[in-house]
């Protein structure tokens, strides 16, 4: 299995983490109350830390001048290969929590599988991430129940969020040639195998939260191929501004 493929895979996972982390970080100082603000920022930092590990590994494989920062700050939209669900705007609190829950439920199972990857570095990163993911899931699942089974307004907002997000969950469980090849070698996670457990777990939590499981009659994909929504560019202009304006700036 070529190292180049593993590098591409590490970049994908880094992209997922950095975009997810950045969206969460947008809650910093905007949280509903101080305690939740701090908790959300903690989770954001977990994902930024994850992005650093995946990007560093990619840079190491690359062996060139690229660093973890180059991947985050010096690539444009089409070079980002994150799943689309991560780049959708923060939205209201219900939207952010619904996305977080859907992805935490996936993320924990994913990292548990990646932990047994035959690639030692990916496995080590996953081992660290699993512990964080357990806590993330505990938090976001709790919010699903609070909001879904809370007031009429929180229920309606959460139902709308889940409906709006649902079509973006399809691509999470699809493998392209690169990931299928790596999965066959025991390096990448075969996400298709995680789908039914995810659906069962999500249906149970949505049920308890009195939220209807969406019909699933639409789906959007393309993130892994660099085909993004209009939101990623705006996000990157924010994330990358300093390095674009002052290349190589350090502090």
């Amino acid at each position: 299995m070529s190292k180049e493929m593993i590098k591409q895979y590490a970049i994908r996972l880094g992209d997922d983490a950095v975009v997810q982390g950045h969206r969460l970080s947008e809650w910093c100082s905007n949280g509903p109350f101080l305690e939740e603000d701090l908790a959300l920022t903690n989770v954001a930092l977990d994902f930024i830390g994850r992005a650093r590990m995946f990007y560093s590994y990619a840079a190491e494989i690359d062996g060139g001048d690229f660093t973890e920062d180059s991947y985050a700050y010096q690539r444009d939209c089409r070079e980002f290969t994150n799943l689309l669900i991560h780049e959708l705007p923060t939205g209201d609190f219900a939207f952010s929590m619904a996305r977080q829950y859907l992805m935490d439920e996936f993320g924990l199972a994913f990292m548990e599988c990646l932990e047994s990857s035959s690639d030692e570095t990916l496995s080590a990163i996953a081992a660290k991430a699993v512990k964080e993911s357990r806590y993330h899931l505990r938090r976001s699942r709790d919010w699903m129940l609070r909001l879904g089974d809370g007031t009429e307004e929180s229920h309606n907002r959460l139902q709308k969020a889940v409906d709006d997000l649902w079509g973006y969950t399809a691509e999470i469980f699809e493998l392209d040639e690169l990931e299928q090849g790596l999965a066959n070698e025991g390096i990448a996670v075969d996400t298709t195998a995680l789908k039914s457990n995810w659906e069962t777990a999500v249906a149970a939590v949505l049920g308890e939260a009195t939220i209807d499981v969406p019909q699933g009659d639409w789906s959007i994909r393309g993130g892994r191929q660099g085909m993004h929504t209009e939101h990623l560019g705006h996000m990157l202009s924010n994330l990358q501004f300093m390095q674009r304006a002052y290349p190589g700036q350090e502090w």
Binding site: P32, F33, L34, E35, E36, L38, A39, N42, Y135, R138, R139, D142, R146
Partner: protein, 94 residues
């Protein structure tokens, strides 16, 4: 913040063998959420291995007015202080 959020006091044990110390307070909907927020707010830099959260309203506190009757009588009873004992080196954290 919603008006009905309760106030909780947070106690942390920094390592095994030590006792829990009061580190601050926070708002949360219920004890379980308070525990999670305590984890996020007070243990970010590995400050603890165990957390207690307690409803602030459950704490019964002595009052300023009680000072005279509570504490002043101790001032002239030096024989209650174990000042003449030498502590062995092995006894830490006392």
């Amino acid at each position: 913040m919603s008006e009905h959020m309760k106030l909780f006091e947070v106690f942390l044990r920094s390592k095994r063998g030590l006792d829990h110390k009061h580190v601050g307070s926070l708002h949360a909907e219920d004890p379980q959420q308070a525990l999670e927020y305590a984890r996020d707010i007070y243990t970010r830099r590995s400050e603890g291995v165990s957390i207690w959260v307690v409803n602030s309203t459950d704490i019964v506190a002595s009052q300023e007015d009680d000072c005279e009757s509570f504490y002043d009588p101790q001032d002239d009873k030096p024989y209650r202080h174990a000042t003449h004992y030498q502590l062995p080196e092995a006894v830490n954290n006392m």
